[in-house]
Subunit: 169 residues, 2 copies
């Protein structure tokens, strides 16, 4: 399912710094230094220690990191799985790699008996909105509508609005 | 085990904003605005949605939030549990509340067959270091020693050094 010359594996703790290192580049510096710090704080090492079996890393033939997906199984709702953070090398966008990573996660979540996958994105990230919608995610109703899309104000804290997605497995 | 007049319960999604609201006050504004944002980003709503069964909130007789513990069971290492974030109202420090919250988590982790609890703290937080040591946590060996304590440089990302603890259950 993953493209030719690419290898898929579960992450290890020491991969965290590699992932952080490519994030600024891949995100095109979105949000400046504050955005960079936000992304680092959203990916503490604990994800690379304790949620590795439901997370994926993709490397190319030169061992370069070209994609990753960090996800977990909900411990509260045994029907739910959650995708926390996904990144793909801009050179491989539109290659189907992100879609493949999501499909790998969907398969794994199904194997664990999960019936739904949740994830969120920033309202400013229109590429992400289009991607998730194309993959079959629905936008959950929020408290306000911005540019025709339901948004959850202060979802992750004051000023941290989010679009909330859910997809049936 | 929790003090008189206090109620212990598992958190709900809507508790996240309440927790964030008290954090700056309880932490005494440590780290200024950047510190405030760091704390908020370390507690995204997902913890209040998907890891509630291993997390705790404490309220007093007036429904005021006076303490919380956010923890989870490792999905990678089925012997391990992890305490992610703990806070106690400064007016209740030295009351044994933090210790009780940890004991509640230890009991729960044991019930789930876990044999070890992990957590981390910032090297500058000497109160936290003393607290964890008194509770039986050991400092894991790092790559450098700062003020006589092993520190893991760049543990959570560039410039985010941490002390790493482990305690046998």
């Amino acid at each position: 399912m993953i493209g030719e010359g690419l290898r898929l594996r579960h992450p290890r703790p020491e991969d965290q710094l590699r992932v952080l290192a490519v994030l600024d580049e891949w995100w095109g510096g979105l949000g400046g230094e504050a955005g960079s710090q936000q992304r680092a704080l959203l990916l503490p090492r604990l994800y690379f220690q304790h949620f590795t079996t439901t997370s994926w890393l993709v490397e190319d033939a030169d061992d370069r990191l070209v994609g990753f997906l960090i996800g977990f199984l909900s411990q509260t709702d045994t029907d739910a799985a959650y995708i926390h953070f996904v990144g793909v090398d801009p050179g491989l966008r539109r290659s189907g790699l992100a879609r493949s990573l999501y499909q790998c996660f969907f398969d794994l979540a199904r194997e664990h008996g999960r019936k739904r996958v949740h994830c969120i994105t920033s309202p400013s990230n229109t590429t992400s909105l289009a991607f998730h919608t194309a993959l079959g995610f629905l936008v959950e109703q929020g408290e306000k509508v911005v540019d025709g899309v339901w948004v959850q104000p202060d979802y992750d804290g004051p000023g941290l609005d989010r679009i909330s997605f859910v997809r049936t497995l």
